[in-house]
Structure formats: C-alpha cells, structure tokens
C-alpha cells in the first residue's frame, strides 16, 4: 500500500489501456458478442429455473423480479434524471392495491366489508400500472419543480399518506390485516394450483407460471428502459441531471421532463407492486413502508446509478440476501432462525446490517456500483488480450 501512495498519479490513459492494466469488467460490456452470449446463458438459466428448483427458490426469484422492475424505474428517475425519491413504496402500494381492488370481488374479510370491481385480472394488471402512473402525474406539480434532495423530502410524505390510506380505507385495502389477492389469469388460464400442467414430467403449478409471467415483465421492463436511455428522453434527462441550465438552453423543458420521468418511474413501481401482490397472494400495509423505499434506493446505489444493468444487479443482491439468510439461518454463525430464541440476530436484521455494509463498501471502493465493478484480470486473459492487441 505504502509504495503505491508515493508513486506519482499516472496520466489519464485510454479505456482499453486501463482495462489491460487493471482487469476486465465483471459484466462483459465492451465486446458485444461476449455480452450477447452471457445474456443468452442468463435467459436459458432463468427459463429452466422452475424445472429444477423448489418453491422457495421460485419465490425468492419472484421477489427479486419485483425488485428489479421497481429498481429500473427508480434508476430512471434518480440515476438518469438525478431526482431523489423516497416515495416509491407508495407507488408500489398503488400498483399492488390497485390490482387487488380492480380484480377482486366484493366480499368480507374478518369484520371488514370489501369492495372490488371484479375485472379480468389481465385488464386489472394493466389498469393498476396506469393507476400508478396517474398517481405519479398527480404529483407532477411538485415532481417537476423540486430538484434532487428537495423532491426526496417531499416524496417522503407520500409514504406516510399511503400508510394512512392503507390502514383506513379498509373497504378497498382490507385495513391492517390486508386483503387476499386474486390470482392472475391470462386468456382463461388461471395462475393458481387448481390446474397443474405436466411439462417434461415436471408439474408446473401457479408459482411456476407466475415465474414466467414475471420473467416476461422483467424482460419488457429492461428493454423499454434501455430504449428510453438510448433515445431522446434519455439524453434530455441526463442533461438535466448534469446541468439544468445547459439542458434548458438546448431546448429541454425542465419542468415537463422531470414530471414525465417521475410518472414513468411511478408506472414501473406500480408494475412491480402488482407483481408483488401476485407473489404474496395477500398484501398488508406493513410491506409498503419507508423501509421499502430505502431498500429500492440501496439497490440502485449498490448496483450502479443510471444503467439498467446496475438496477438489475443491485435489486437481485438486496432482495435475495435476506431470503438466503433466512433460509440458511441454522447453518450461519450469529444468525438465528425466525422464531428461535437465544442470542443472535434475526435473519432480516442480519441482512440489513450486511447490505448496509455493502452499501458503504460500494460507495468507498466501487462508486460506479457493482455493475461497473472490474475484477483483476486472470493471467490467461491478460496474455490473450496482449496477443490480440499487438
């Protein structure tokens, strides 16, 4: 360590030279063919997932998917447009309760009368996304005018308003005890365990089918966000983040673009919420507290601000960690399984400490996020690269 600190700072070098010296990106980004291969391998793995793994892993994966969708949306707002939001838990809740209310039937839960529109679940799902977008648009007088931190503080209020509404509008939300979620149904095919398909000798029940539905949503979410970032709105939002004055003199209407980014981001959160409701099968207000907003922010910071890949990596990391710790609590030191007494941390708490630590480490050592992290190149790679470069 001491000898590196005394050497003079090297002059800026080209990206290729830097990569040769220090290593290769964790995710292959610079070579399109390698990237495509990795992406295809990921797709195959994810498609085959339900054939080999148990319900626990499916559920963990589905939680990760909801996190990925919400994090991509938040990253569009915070990473690309530079606007902080602590209120995304509210929009996730709008999506979740929106779907449940729109698709649910009138009924009764405990002492509460429940109402519902009883729409086709597919229609209800789309309507829930629109509803979350509408909620984002209603907030646009603030989201367009407030910048960065100030928007973060203003959106904080949304979480508390949301909690109040969820607890008190019990005919829609079911109040404190929540409400059960009607299963997804596409073209008359319900995503529950009433029918089981046998594919290659493996039973595909409701959870498995939901897995593919979630996978489809994640794919669409990634693709749309990537297109946005590479296109005209992406350029405008990036300019707004880096200098509002420069963006304005280039013709970008700052207020309108900020509000639009907020709305799109709210729609992503709503999609995640509706999917989350389907995974949980019963939703309660506790799920959509401030902790969820903070988790989402942690995801994009750990993964990497401003890129789709960053949101995906961070979301998977933050959402899977507590699940893994819970699952393996009996085998890990210091962590006690839920319900067991004795000294030690609960799994959820341990997960929180761990990703807090990772958050700090990320900010210190990989400010670009995990998705931009570079690992030291193995010798064989370096040799091959140097051959290619000479």
């Amino acid at each position: 360590m001491s000898d590196t600190s005394t050497t003079p700072r090297p002059r800026p070098e080209s990206a290729a030279a830097r990569q040769r010296r220090f290593g290769v990106p964790l995710l292959p980004r610079r070579t399109p063919s390698a990237r495509r291969t990795a992406l295809a391998a990921c797709c195959v793995l994810l498609l085959a997932w339900p054939f080999y793994l148990s319900a626990f892993w499916l559920q963990t994966g589905l939680f990760a998917m909801t996190a990925v969708i919400a994090a991509i949306g938040l990253n569009l707002l915070s990473g690309t447009a530079g606007q902080l939001s602590l209120g995304h838990a509210f929009f996730v809740a709008v999506g979740a309760y929106g779907y449940t209310w729109l698709a649910g039937d009138d009924g009764r839960s405990g002492t509460h009368e429940l109402t519902g529109l009883g729409l086709n679940p597919m229609v209800a799902f789309l309507a829930a996304i629109v509803l979350a977008g509408a909620a984002g648009t209603v907030f646009s007088p603030l989201s367009g005018r407030l910048r960065g931190m100030y928007l973060g503080v203003a959106t904080l209020a949304l979480v508390f308003i949301g909690q109040h509404v969820m607890l008190n509008a019990s005919s829609v939300t079911g109040g404190f005890n929540g409400r059960s979620v009607p299963p997804m149904e596409i073209f008359g095919m319900a995503f529950d365990d009433s029918t089981v398909w046998m594919v290659l000798g493996v039973p595909l029940g409701g959870l498995e089918r939901l897995w593919y539905f979630g996978l489809f949503l994640v794919g669409v979410a990634c693709l749309l966000a990537r297109n946005l970032l590479l296109g005209r709105p992406g350029h405008a939002l990036g300019a707004l983040r880096d200098s509002e004055v420069a963006a304005a003199v280039m013709g970008v209407p700052a207020t309108r673009m900020r509000a639009a980014a907020f709305t799109v981001s709210a729609m992503y959160a709503g999609t995640a919420g509706a999917l989350l409701a389907l995974v949980y099968q019963r939703i309660v207000p506790d799920t959509f507290g401030l902790a969820l907003s903070i988790d989402l922010l942690a995801m994009i910071v750990i993964g990497g601000l401003g890129s789709v890949a960053g949101a995906v990596v961070g979301a998977v990391f933050v959402s899977v960690l507590p699940q893994l710790l819970t699952h393996y609590a009996d085998q890990l030191p210091l962590v006690v399984p839920p319900g067991a007494g004795g000294d030690g941390l609960g799994a959820a708490e341990a997960a929180r400490y761990l990703y807090g630590l990772v958050l700090v480490l990320t900010l210190l050592f990989a400010p670009g996020g995990l998705a931009r992290l570079e690992v030291p190149a193995p010798p064989w790679w370096r040799t091959r690269r140097s051959f290619r470069n000479t």
Binding site: N227, A239, V249, G251, V252
Partner: protein
C-alpha cells in the same frame, strides 16, 4: 424546423434560412443592488460575427445569460427578428434557433454522440412512448439525426471521436464538443462564450478557423465573447465594448482600437494605470 436537417454543412449563404436581426435595446440587469448591465443596446446584423468585449466584470456573460433566457432582464428588450426573447423560458429561446456554448465546459456524461444528440432535441419529436417502444418513426428519426450529428462532428474535427466518452477527451476537444452540440441545433444565432479560453496557440488558431468556417458554410450570425483580442480583431465584423455594465464603444475592429474610451477602459488613465496594466489588449497574434 425539420427541413433544415438536410442542409449540408457546405451550403452557400443564399440558400440559408432567413437569419433575423438580433437587437438588444436598453437592457438593464440588477442583482440586489449590483447593476450587472446598465442600459445596454447593440444590434447583431444577420450573418455577421459580432464580438462582445470588455474587462472582467463588464457584463459580457450576463448579456449571454439574458440572451439565452437564463437571467431575466430587469428592464429593456431583446428581439430576434419578430420574436421578443425577454420573458421567454430558455427552452423556448432554443426553439427559436438561438444556441450557446458555456465559458466553463458543461457537457453530459456519455459519448460525444450522446452530447450531440442532445443538441438535436429541439429538431426531433420522439416522446417517451415512441422511444421506449422503438416505433419505426422514432427509430428513423434517430438514425437520420445521428447521421447529421456525425457530419457536424466531422466538420468541427471530432469525426474520429464520435463514439468516445467525453470524459476521455482533452480540454480543447471538449470545447469543440460544446461548439458541435450548439451547431447541432442548426441555430440561426450562435452565442460563443470564450471559445478559446485556456487553449494553446495552435488550438486557438484552429478554433478561429472553425468559427469563420461556420459563418462561411452556414451564413448564421455569431455573437462571441472573448478575451483574446488578436483573434477578435481578426475574425469579427463588429465589436461592442462593455465596461462595468455599460456600453462604452462599438464599431468595426479598427474603430474600436482607436476609440479613446475603449483604450481608457483597458489601459486605465494615468492615476490608476498600474493595477489596470494587466488588462492588456494584446492577445496572441498580430493585428
């Protein structure tokens, strides 16, 4: 507006869209007790290179900020042809064909291409939905405008850097990215805020050459703020001199150089000549 996208860089002045006159009339800007601009008037003739000079704190950058809508004028008007610029939001002024660069480089993280495509913002239409869904119209539009952006990059000498992240470029190259981004707006009036500040002699010469080439190729009006007197005297058609927020002189470069008021502002009068001596009119070149 979109019709201008097909104009090649080497068009003749006769086929250019009509360039309006920019007239600044009695503009005053006050910031809580400080008068940054005091009753300043000047006119930029269509297709001319007009220089705005003056010692530090004379109000040159404030003028630019008023012209581009970043600051509001306390009183007075700025007209660009029939349009009244004072009171318009910056993005509306940009839509009228007024482009500017910044004294301190202000670029977006990303490649040169990303920055130049931002310059095409007012000339393109694709919204969130069309872009996200990659509708054919949006894809076509983006491809066409990217081609034009590449042409402009080549014109200012950044052709080989088109896909390079701006963070890897040298200072002089980044200055050129700013210029190219402004040109990407297909402006009728180009405001250049100290385009050669901090550059070495060779880079200054190249930039001066590029600026005259822009005027020759596009026939647009250029308003330029610069401290490099040698360059100003060589390339500009008309000069307006500001000092302490007031217009103290103007005319052709030759007239300005002989104007006693201008010489006094730059070199000072006898009693406080010493501290003002570094306000020299000499730049790098011969006049």
């Amino acid at each position: 507006m979109t019709g201008t996208t097909t104009i090649p860089v080497t068009q003749t002045a006769s086929t250019a869209p009509a360039i309006p006159v920019l007239s600044v009339e009695q503009v005053t800007v006050r910031f809580a007790g400080l008068t940054a601009l005091d009753d300043v008037s000047f006119t930029v003739a269509p297709g001319s290179i007009h220089a705005l000079i003056g010692p530090n704190g004379a109000g040159k950058s404030t003028s630019f900020n008023v012209l581009s809508g970043v600051y509001r004028a306390t009183s007075g008007t700025v007209r660009f042809g029939d349009a009244l610029l004072t009171g318009l939001m910056p993005h509306r002024i940009a839509e009228l064909g007024v482009a500017r660069t910044f004294q301190n480089i202000v670029l977006t993280a990303g490649t040169v291409a990303d920055n130049l495509m931002l310059g095409r913002y007012t000339l393109t239409r694709a919204g969130f939905a069309a872009t996200a869904l990659r509708l054919p119209g949006a894809v076509r539009e983006q491809r066409r405008h990217r081609e034009r952006a590449r042409e402009i990059a080549e014109f200012v000498g950044l052709g080989a850097r088109f896909e390079t992240p701006v963070g890897l470029l040298s200072y002089g190259e980044r200055k050129r990215v700013e210029l190219a981004r402004a040109l990407c707006m297909e402006p009728k009036l180009l405001l250049l805020d100290e385009p050669v500040a901090g550059m070495n002699t060779a880079e200054r010469k190249a930039m001066a050459h590029t600026i005259t080439a822009i005027r020759r190729a596009l026939g647009i009006s250029i308003l330029i703020v610069e401290h490099d007197m040698g360059m100003i005297m060589r390339i500009s058609d008309e000069v307006t001199v500001l000092d302490f927020g007031r217009r103290i002189g103007g005319g052709t470069p030759q007239q300005v150089q002989r104007d006693p008021a201008v010489i006094r502002a730059y070199l000072g009068t006898g009693d406080h000549a010493a501290p003002a001596a570094n306000r020299t009119t000499d730049g790098d070149g011969a006049r």
